[in-house]
């Protein structure tokens, strides 16, 4: 009796392992078949992924990435997918944690029929080498760390580097004709970096067009900004260059409006979002920011994206969200470009050499895989970001 039971168990074990092997093997074989032939009758989905924080402190970014990528993938699927094959979007929650992001990357690298990732937020600097080893293209819509693309030749950045963004902010100040700068920067790596970068930029330019009259390091968040504003006022600042997140820019701006009503406030791309406008209300009217994306644009592609995004989320897409949308566009175009030859190296090459025009403008990459971004000065008017 006991023996029989053992045999039965052993049999069961063999069967299940075989089954598991079979499951694993099947899609792999079709993948190789399609790779070699590009069989038009093959309906196996082509998988791509979006990873970002859907929960936790930075959830608003991840939720935006997720919605934008879905819109792009849906659009492609409506047009018949790639080579007749449907596109499947895998969506992962990075939970605002580096560890979680790394775990997701490992999971994705084990997927079959899988050709690229858009995103990562908290873990951007941790996952690049892994994807590069596995030859999986990673296109970040948000990273601004200098070393991001240096992680490997599979890491692309569809976001401005700090220098480009800062240059955009300086142009805002110049356009407004208020070039005496008071720099307000957050006391973290990013904020200090941005300020150092600004100083270097001005030195390179020979300091002609702009002058830094004051620089204020801030703790951010719910601090009392009056003391900082008094300093700016005394120094005679005309423009405040804000290297901080919108949750500091809004409180700062509200306070500044009372004491320094003429202060021109220039913030970074991260303020190009709906929440900034909503909570800032009348006080953020006149705030400037450089942006690669203008939701108010008449361009039909932009209109399609904005309308679709509004319909799905009731919000206007932010600049970073628009970049995620384009990143997915670049990825899918590159996959489609190779006539169904789903060769990873060929796809990487196509991404590198793309001439994709997206809602954020040209998405071509430099040699070191950073996108050249063209900023336009934007200003808040009647509760909307419009061209200055």
């Amino acid at each position: 009796m006991k023996k029989k039971l053992c045999m039965l168990l052993a049999l069961l074990l063999v069967v299940t392992t075989l089954g598991a092997c079979g499951n694993g093997a099947a899609p792999a074989s079709t993948a190789s078949a399609s790779a070699s032939g590009g069989n038009p009758t093959d309906k196996t989905p082509i998988k791509v992924a979006v990873a970002g924080p859907l929960t936790g402190n930075y959830s608003e970014y991840g939720i935006g990435f997720d919605a934008a990528c879905k819109i792009m993938v849906d659009k492609w699927n409506k047009d018949g997918g790639i080579n007749g094959r449907p596109i499947e979007l895998l969506s992962y929650d990075e939970k605002s944690s580096t560890e979680e992001g790394l775990a997701i990357a490992q999971l994705l690298c084990g997927e079959d029929n899988f050709y690229g990732v858009v995103g990562h937020f908290s873990a951007s600097m941790a996952v690049g080498t892994l994807y590069t080893e596995e030859r999986v293209p990673l296109i970040s819509a948000s990273s601004s760390s200098a070393g991001f693309t240096g992680q490997g030749d599979c890491c692309f950045r569809l976001n401005a580097t700090i220098s480009t963004e800062t240059m955009g902010m300086l142009e805002c100040a110049k356009t407004a004709g208020k070039t005496k700068l008071g720099v307000v920067y957050l006391n973290n790596d990013w904020g200090r970096n941005a300020y150092d970068n600004l100083k270097t930029l001005l030195q390179e330019k020979g300091n002609e067009d702009w002058e830094i009259v004051d620089a204020e390091e801030i703790a951010g968040g719910d601090m009392d900004y009056n003391a900082v504003i008094s300093n700016l006022n005394a120094a005679g600042a005309e423009t405040a260059i804000m290297f901080c997140y919108y949750d500091s820019v809004v409180p700062f701006t509200i306070k500044a409006r009372t004491v320094m009503p003429d202060l021109n406030i220039v913030c970074g791309v991260n303020c190009y979002n709906d929440t900034f406008l909503k909570v800032g209300g009348k006080d953020v009217e006149g705030c400037m920011a450089p942006s690669v994306f203008a939701a108010v644009s008449d361009d039909p592609d932009v209109k399609y994206f904005v309308d679709e995004y509004k319909a799905r989320t009731t919000q206007v897409p932010s600049s970073l969200t628009a970049q995620a949308y384009d990143a997915m566009g670049v990825l899918l175009t590159a996959i489609a470009e190779n006539n169904g030859e789903l060769d990873k190296e060929a796809i990487l090459k196509s991404i590198q050499n793309n001439d994709y025009k997206g809602v954020t403008g040209s998405c071509s990459f430099s040699e070191n895989r950073d996108a050249t971004r063209n900023f336009s000065p934007m200003v808040v008017s009647n509760g909307q970001w419009i061209y200055y």
């Binding site: 801030i218 703790a219 719910d222 601090m223 009056n226 509200i254």
Partner: protein
């Protein structure tokens, strides 16, 4: 510039003072650091928001609504969370941990109900600015400082000049002797929680109106600094709390003026550290018995 920064410091300092008084009141009576205080401060501001936004009350009724509900919440914190512990003779540490836990519960409820984002708050007293000795001063600051100061004076008169205030002081100094003089000690404790919570609610409302926004995390830093102010001035001492609040407010604005804004959160605790080295019971605090 100096005058301007001094005014900035005094304005925020009176707010710290108003919150610090709440810590002191409860500490004086129960010898307990009430860590729900910062969340009650936040709750107070949110209750005004609820009054205006959801109940469509005018702003004064909304503030009244907040005073009553927040004050009552303060009483409930004691009745439901702390009184049972006192009756069972639990240690001060368990009571303190309870207040930390309750604080998280309150903030989490606010998060669930309103989210963690910035919410705009009505600007109650924005009357522009005026010049004084070459400094630009916002009326807001003057009004906030004045309101807080009037409340502090009123509270001080209440405690020092009224029969109930006398009973509060008696309970503080010798709880066992208070009862045998006919004082209903539990009632006085509830009243103390009510006053502490109501003054926190006013402080929260003033700050929300000063900043013109609120959010569930608004009490985190203010709560800590006000606690530092209370200890700095001598916890349990009303004048001490006021002094501590003003000192911290002014030294913060001076730090921004002379050192830069990132020092703002460090000043309070550095000062606290220094003062406690020299005077372990705070500036106006005394060993053993403490006075409100």
């Amino acid at each position: 510039m100096f005058v301007e920064q001094l005014i900035n410091g005094l304005a925020i300092g009176t707010i710290y003072a108003l919150v610090a008084v709440g810590y002191s009141l409860v500490f004086g009576i129960l010898r307990l650091v009430n860590f729900t205080h910062s969340s009650v401060y936040t709750l107070g501001a949110f209750m005004v928001y609820v009054g205006v936004e959801y109940l469509h009350l005018n702003i004064f009724l909304a503030i009244l609504f907040s005073l009553v509900t927040t004050g009552f919440a303060g009483v409930m914190i004691d009745k439901m969370g702390l009184e049972p512990l006192r009756k069972k003779g639990a240690s001060k540490i368990s009571a303190m941990i309870t207040t930390i836990g309750l604080s998280y519960i309150i903030i989490n409820c606010l998060n669930i109900a309103f989210g963690s984002q910035i919410i705009r708050f009505p600007d109650l007293f924005n009357y522009g600015t005026f010049k004084l000795l070459g400094a630009t001063i916002a009326w807001q600051q003057v009004i906030i400082g004045a309101v807080a100061l009037i409340l502090l004076v009123a509270l001080s008169i209440f405690i020092n000049r009224t029969r109930i205030g006398l009973a509060m002081r008696a309970v503080q100094q010798e709880p066992s002797a208070a009862a045998i003089n006919g004082i209903n000690v539990n009632m006085i404790i509830s009243l103390t929680f009510f006053l502490g919570a109501a003054s926190a609610a006013i402080a929260g409302t003033l700050i929300a109106s000063y900043n013109q926004y609120l959010r569930s995390s608004m009490g985190d830093i203010v709560g800590l600094k006000a606690f530092a102010a209370a200890v700095l001035g001598g916890i349990g001492s009303l004048p001490g709390s006021v002094l501590g609040g003003l000192i911290i407010g002014v030294s913060e604005s001076m730090a921004v003026y002379k050192l830069g804004g990132s020092y703002i959160d460090m000043v309070a605790f550095s000062l606290l550290f220094l003062v406690l080295l020299i005077r372990p019971y705070g500036i106006l605090g005394r060993k053993g018995s403490t006075k409100v």
